[in-house]
Structure formats: C-alpha cells, structure tokens
Amino acid sequence: MPRLGLPIDKDWAWGDASGTGITVAVVDSGIDAAHPEVGAVDRAVALQWDADTQEATLSEGPHDDLYGHGTACAGIIRRAAPDATLWSVRVLGRKLSGKGVVFAAGLRWAIAQGARVVNLSLSTSREDYFGLFHEVADEAAFAGVVLVCAANNVPAPTYPAQFSSVISVAAHDGQDPFELDANPAPPVDFGAPGIDVRVPWLDGGTIVSTGNSFAAPHVAGLVARLLSKHPHLTPYEVKTVLRAVASNAR
C-alpha cells in the first residue's frame, strides 16, 4: 500500500490516551459486567421485537450476556481503551423476528444518548434490510458516531459492513491490539487481531476463538483511544488516521 505521507504516527494518534470520556456502545448479546476483564458497564439496554405493535421495545437496566460474545467484545475494547465508558445494547438473544427494526432502534438509541463509537457484531445479507441499515449507518456518520463492523468472509455483500460510511474489519493472525493493517481492496477497510485470540466469555472464563467479529472490537478500542485524545475528529478523519498508522502502510 502506498504511504499517505502525513505526519501522523501512533504517538500523535493516541500516545498514552486510554479512552477517557469516550462512550463505546457494544451492540450484541449483552455484556457480563462481572467479568474481571470488562470492568464497569455504565448503561445497559435490552431491545426486543413486539409482534403486536410491530415495534422494538427497549428496557434499561443491568442485563446478562446471553451468549458470551458481547462480553468478549467489551473485554477486547478494554485492551486498547481501558478507561472508555462502556454501554451494552442487547439486540441479540431472542427470536430473529423484527431483527432489522430492533437493530435500528438500538443503534438510534446509542446515537441519541451520545455514544461516539459503536461496535457491531450483527450483519445480514438480507436484501430487505439494505435500505434501513443504510439509512441508520448514514445517521450515525452524520452524527459523528463511528460504526465499527465485522466484515464478511465471502465476497457477498453484508450490511452494514458493506457501506462506505462504516469501518469494516476482517481478522488477521496478529496478536497485538495496537497493530492493524489497511486493506487495499474495498469493502473491507482494516485487518486486526481475530484469529486464535483469547477472549473473555461467560461466567468469568475465557476462550480461544476466531472470527471477524473479534477483529472489529480491536479497532473499536483503538478508535475510542484515538477519540479520547482527538475528540473532534469526524468518522472519515478517524478512518484517515487509522490508515496512516496501519502497519502495512508505513
């Protein structure tokens, strides 16, 4: 990849910043706040689809992680941004029905409440979600909220990772949470650790796992760290800075 030639290095980008003052919302299966690698979860909302009203219902208050994945993401985010504020937006864990509406409602809540970074494990190939997810991704970008999404493993489009307005991340086999690669071929933007990574899981334990869905929170953590030092950056400026500090572009 060609060098950008900008005077941006990791020292400028984040140095010793630790995420203070930046809220990261984990849109996933919930977060286990009791896990030693997670620390505090400041706010938690659980969303469900109500078939009668055809709307998403939202309830705020501490909740469990129904699968373990949200806790993994929270723990990974803490590795780069130990002092970021964490919110849990649980959209996974009940029936699949109304998934698109539930996701949109969860994301809109996070944006309205002031989150700056959103880590998204959810992706869909469904054509009928294209419009809604595109709209919500734009809303986030226009509100200055950085959406970090797990990319797809196959060439087929997956939403919202496909959209240019988000940061899409695929897994590489590095282990350093402060190293990322820039991907020269869209739609995937960056590569980050996500192969055989040890991550927090349920009941205070850890597992060794692989997936783009573990690479995304690595980048979300770096974004939180970056924003805590440079809070006025827009999402596209964030992408530029990440590109400038990528390991394969220096």
């Binding site: 864990g93 192969i195 334990g205």
Partner: protein
C-alpha cells in the same frame, strides 16, 4: 363455484401436492454435503441445523460423523449456544476450546454421545432470509487457521441454502405459482385475484399429512412401474380396510 373459490382450491391442491413433484434427492444432497465438508476439513462431525418456521428453534436436520444418528432431529432454542449466536448475528465463528464455555450446549452435546472441544460454525442464508447454521466439530488441528476454513465452509453453506430454497418453493407451490402468474398477468383484475388468493394459501408445512403422503408416494413411484403399482395396491387395501372398521369419532 365462483372463480376465486376455484382458484383457491387449485392453489391448495398445488400446495398439497408440491412435495410430490419436488426434485428428488435434496435430502441426499444435504447429507452428501455435510459428509464432504466433514472429510474435507478432517472433522469429527459436521451438522446442518435449520430454523423452525417460527424461528424459535434450531432443528438438527442433517449430520455426518460422530454422534450423527443421535443429533439428527434434536431441537435447541435459537436463543442458545454458539449455533444460536451464529444465526442471530449472521457472523461465522470458530472456538478452539469450548470446554471453557460453561454454557456451551454441553447437555445437548452429551446427549449425542460426543462432546467436542472445537467448533467452527457459519450461517446458512440467502438474500431473502436466514435459514440455519452449518457446524464442524473438532476440525483437523493440523489444518491452517480457522479463518480460511470459514470462507470454505461458507461455500458449502451457500450450496445448502440453494438446495433448501428450491425445496421450499415446492412446499409453497400454490403460492409460488400464483404469485408468478400474477406477475405475468401484469396489472388488472386477474393479477389482483391471483395475488389475493396466493396470500391466503397455507404452506405445506401447516398441513403436512397430505404433503407427506404425496412425497412418500412419489419416492416409491420414481423407483419404477412395479413399485408404483405396489404402492397403489397397498394404499387401496388400506383404504378398504379403513372403510370396514368402525370409524373413531373425536
């Protein structure tokens, strides 16, 4: 009988008999697919679990390898376990050691007589909907990283999705035919009538008896004229016998 009533009867007939004319060999194809995947990846087992019609459960439909006979037909809630997370999030995942995951469906795994250490699971979906998940248990550890295998397994998942989608069309043959005819009719009364009736037609899933009968008969009949005659003879004998017996009133 007014024309719309006639249409409705025709539609219901098509739906009931759809399974009798669906392409042979889908079950065999799916079994072959799971066995091929199992061998290719050097895995102990490979299974295909499909979402139930109301999307609340995953039904293990086809399996190959260790525990295959016991796992086939098993149902787990879609809001549970690694397979559940995969269908909900739409993201592939690999876990090297599920032993440290206390909520991993150990109970279900023990029921099959095989408790895996490692699992690699990818979603099975189309652009229209999420169908289920393919799981590999205990892939050959000599294989390079799970990341590449996720991409490869997704190709098998795509094949399974294609096979399942074409089968589904035959379960809803009445609806499929009428909607296609409505499109061909363009605007106007005929198209409107066809669309109206199509939306009232049940799926064969909701009235399985005649569908099962039709499918079973078709399977026999495909074997040849002698088998067809035998099937007819047996069916007539059963019908005669049923006529003689005093019928049970519910």
């Amino acid at each position: 009988m007014n024309p719309e009533d006639l249409l409705r009867e025709l539609g219901q007939l098509a739906t009931s008999l759809g399974p009798a004319v669906r392409p042979a060999g889908t079950d065999e194809l799916l079994r072959s697919l799971t066995e091929t995947a199992r061998q290719l990846f050097g895995a102990a087992a490979c299974s295909l679990a499909l979402l139930s019609p109301d999307e609340s459960e995953l039904v293990y439909t086809v399996a190959a390898g260790q525990g295959a006979a016991d796992v086939t037909g098993m149902r787990i809630p879609a809001a549970q376990g690694i397979a559940g997370w995969v269908v909900q999030s739409g993201q592939p995942i690999a876990i090297t050691d599920v032993g440290s995951d206390p909520r991993f469906s150990r109970h279900a795994a023990e029921q099959t007589g095989y408790v895996p250490r490692a699992i690699l699971a990818v979603p099975v979906e189309t652009r229209a909907r999420m169908l289920g998940v393919i799981s590999l248990l205990d892939r050959d550890p000599q294989r390079p990283g799970a990341e590449r295998d996720m991409t490869l397994l997704s190709l098998f998942a795509d094949q399974a999705a294609l096979a399942l989608t074409s089968v589904e069309a035959f379960s809803d043959l009445g609806q499929v035919l009428f909607r296609a005819a409505a499109e061909a009719a363009g605007d106007g009364d005929l198209a409107a009538a066809l669309t109206r009736v199509a939306s009232t037609l049940p799926s064969a899933n909701t009235s399985p008896d005649l569908a099962e009968l039709a499918a079973a008969f078709a399977t026999l009949a495909r074997r040849g004229p002698a088998e067809r005659r035998l099937a007819l003879a047996v069916l007539r004998d059963v019908a005669d016998y049923a006529k003689e017996r005093p019928s049970r009133r519910h």
